[in-house]
């Protein structure tokens, strides 16, 4: 009786040991050699796996970063929009290089065709997705470039940074937007653009994508860009370009002077997070010179 037990134990012991040796050699042969830095870098990333960096998930981004440093000794052009400058600085420290400071960006909705300014002319009855409505007709207001209001952008956002305003029928971007670009891709009309957040979170943009001639464009929406070029003429920094009856403000060149906002006859240019304008005081008693009073330290609560 005891013999059987002893033989069984020895047999299994030998099989176990042999398997261990075989597995060890196989593991050595098929070992994947990975730069340990990839794991370290991945640890510093936010693990949102949103794809905003342009790579498949945070692991993909770590691999790209390490590869870039090994080949070019820099991580130029690579950045994590969710983590921002803080995370990129950590990553740079791990990789032993200096990170460039990137201007933080945010999604901007370039359409103001609300239920009021671009009233409904036809009734759309179908699946509530912009992708489908876009292929069917120019939309309920008739503007072929404007927002369709079905919320594909809201559905695409993984950070709950965009919501549909019930009153206007237009999407609104919240402050926690990390500019990952998911909503930009989701919008079939390309209304959403990633632009610099701007100094003190202030930004100015043309809130329209309409390329039709002014007369035709105005038939469908009252706040459309009619391509009159008045903004282009008044901008002191040459930040505005006109293309196909539509104005565009280059956010790198724009100095936030707001001259274009006042100049636009249809209010198509929007300013966000600016203090309300003070009235100009003409002819204050000061030796007959007019003096303009501007209150410099206003709070930044005002949003449009």
């Amino acid at each position: 009786m005891n013999d059987i037990i002893i033989y069984a134990v020895i047999f299994l012991g030998v099989v176990g040991a042999a398997s261990a040796v075989i597995l060890y050699f196989i593991a050595q042969k098929f070992k994947v050699i990975e730069d340990p830095k990839i794991d370290e870098v991945e640890g510093a990333l936010p693990a949102a796996n949103c794809g905003g960096c342009g790579f498949p998930g945070c692991r993909g981004f770590s691999e790209a970063l390490v590869k870039s440093v090994n080949e070019k000794q820099s991580i130029e052009g690579l950045s994590c929009p969710v983590g921002g400058n803080a995370v990129m600085a950590k990553v740079a420290a791990i990789l032993g290089i200096v990170a460039e400071e990137k201007e933080p960006q945010i999604a901007v909705i370039r359409c103001s065709g609300s239920k009021e300014s671009a009233p409904k002319k036809i009734n759309y009855e179908g699946p509530a997705t912009c992708a489908f409505a876009h292929n069917l007709s120019s939309g309920e207001s008739g503007c072929p470039y404007g927002c369709l209001g079905c919320g594909d952008c809201v559905a695409a956002c993984k950070f709950d940074a965009i919501y549909m305003d019930e009153v206007t029928g237009l999407p609104v971007v919240r402050d926690n937007c990390v500019a990952c670009g998911a909503c930009v891709i989701a919008c079939p009309r390309n209304i959403i653009e990633l632009r610099n957040k701007g100094k003190k979170d202030r930004r100015i943009f043309v809130s329209c994508m309409n390329e039709e001639k002014g007369g035709i464009a105005k038939k469908n929406c009252s706040v459309v860009c009619i391509g009159c070029s008045k903004c282009f003429k008044v901008c002191p920094f040459e930040a505005i370009t006109m293309n196909n009856n539509l104005a565009y403000i280059d956010y790198e060149k724009c100095k936030l002077c707001r001259k274009c906002v006042l100049e636009c006859p249809t209010n198509a240019i929007h300013e966000l997070n600016f203090p309300p304008r003070k009235e100009k005081m003409s002819e204050v008693e000061n030796n007959g010179e007019s003096k303009i009073e501007v209150n410099k330290d206003q709070s930044l609560d005002t949003k449009e």
């Binding site: 179908g126 699946p127 997705t129 992708a131 489908f132 120019s138 072929p144 039709e212």
Partner: protein, 443 residues
């Protein structure tokens, strides 16, 4: 009685205008002729602002392989070439012509005499069909000359004519078969010569007994042409379903009918081919049905291309008070329009004016997994799956489920008891998969 084997539905026929003979609609004061009137690339204009044009004059050339020529349907002056709202729901390039008189090009034979003898060779026929802008008048507007150019390695054996008109409400083809039967027969013989086939079969649904009888009698005088009466079932007129019904042949997935030796043409196209080859007349007018339960004067009208839909509606008694939707085409596959100020084009087979009650869709509820959509799909697909994948944006799965084989007949959405927008999501899926496939081949 023969019919296709899988699927099918039976929507009520409502052929309200079946007894109205074709009436010629008066020439309007202005026509707007869109430059995109066939499948494929838009045509390139060959006239300029201010040019004088005659009826039948070439105004735009089809330059790509799949494209077609467009001819003026009126005589007058070109006002401008500019964007105009058309049936797509978007503004697209079109030629605006202000009408002056009704001067036709001299080479068009306007006599009513039937010309039976076919003097052109096969190559000349194909060339003529291309030159005179003939496209499929069944609604898809595929350039007809491309269908006649059989690819090397394949051979056409049978020409099938689609006289089915399975969509409810539409009666244009029916009237054409009754009133222009002989011309149609000659047209079919011309197509047979162009394809080098000895046999042609005209498929007609059994709700058009007078047309079946009339054409059967005529077929005795024309060699090689048979008439086959088919059971009334939607979508009997889908070309793959028609081939299955008439010849019992199945076109393989993703392939064209030529794969089984068949070419299908609409009977209206056959008539247009007769006029082109025998009378030198380009395609610039067609029969359009205007109908609807509230329409005062439903009927079938011969309309010049580019005429505003408004004119046709006025002729039919004006827009009814209770109009909920205006559909171009049939109720199953037609497209809802966003304006009446759109031109009638080569692909407009009919216009339906639905009442408010008929127009409203049912509010969709959750899928109850009944499987009815699968039962009725004439292509043997699973609409419930494709639509779900489309909704969830799982495009690889949409492709695997053969969404590209879908003929968009609408039987699934028509039959769904939960009112789910199945066809809408399938269409979205097809569009996206098409984009993905194109990107794949680019890389």
């Amino acid at each position: 009685m023969k019919t296709f084997k899988i699927g099918g539905v039976h929507p009520p026929e409502n052929k309200l205008s079946t007894n109205r003979p074709i009436e010629v609609l008066a020439i309007p004061a202005q026509v707007i002729i869109p430059l995109s009137q066939s499948l494929g690339a838009p045509s390139v204009p060959v006239v300029n602002k201010g040019d004088a044009v005659k009826v039948g004059q070439l105004i735009a050339k089809g330059e790509a392989f799949i494209s077609s020529n467009i001819h003026s349907s009126v005589s007058g002056k070109v006002l401008k070439i500019d964007e105009a709202m058309d049936q797509s729901g978007y503004r697209r390039q079109a030629v605006f012509i202000t009408v002056e008189g009704d001067d036709w090009m001299e080479n068009i034979d306007r006599s009513a005499e039937l010309k039976k003898e076919i003097t052109l060779t096969k190559e000349e026929i194909i060339s003529k069909v291309k030159e005179l802008g003939i496209v499929g008048l069944g609604g898809a507007t595929f350039p007809s000359h491309v269908k006649l150019m059989v690819p090397t390695g394949k051979k056409a054996e049978v020409l099938v004519l689609n006289g089915v008109e399975c969509e409810p409400y539409l009666t244009a083809d029916h009237r054409l078969m009754l009133e222009k039967g002989e011309e149609m027969m000659v047209g079919i013989q011309i197509l047979m010569k162009g394809l080098d086939v000895k046999r042609a079969v005209i498929g007609i649904e059994n709700n058009k007994l007078d047309a079946i009888e009339h054409l059967k009698k005529l077929a005795n005088e024309f060699e090689g042409i048979e008439v086959e009466a088919l059971k009334v079932q939607y979508p009997q007129g889908g070309e793959k379903q028609l081939i299955d019904a008439v010849l019992g042949r199945q076109v393989p997935s993703g392939k064209l009918p030529i794969e089984v030796g068949v070419v299908v043409h609409n009977v209206g196209t056959a008539f247009a081919v007769y006029e082109a080859v025998q009378k030198n007349k380009p395609l610039f007018e067609r029969v359009v049905t205007i109908t609807g339960k509230n329409v005062k004067n439903p009927g079938n009208f011969m309309v010049r291309i580019g005429t505003s839909l408004n004119e046709l509606i006025e002729k039919a008694g004006g827009l009814p008070e209770d109009t909920g939707k205006i559909v171009s085409g049939g109720p199953m596959m037609g497209k809802a329009l966003n304006s009446v100020d759109v031109p009638i084009v080569k692909g407009t087979s009919g216009v339906l004016l639905f009442s408010e009650k008929e127009a409203r869709r049912v509010e969709p509820t959750n899928c109850i997994r009944c499987g009815k959509c699968i039962t009725v799909c004439p292509m043997g697909l699973e609409p419930v799956l494709i639509a779900q994948y489309g909704e969830l944006e799982m495009w690889e799965n949409v492709e695997t489920e053969h969404a590209l084989d879908c003929i968009e007949c609408g039987s699934c959405q028509y039959t769904c008891p939960a009112g789910r927008p199945l066809l809408d999501y399938i269409r979205l899926g097809k569009f996206r998969v098409g984009q993905i496939i194109r990107n794949r081949s680019k890389k």
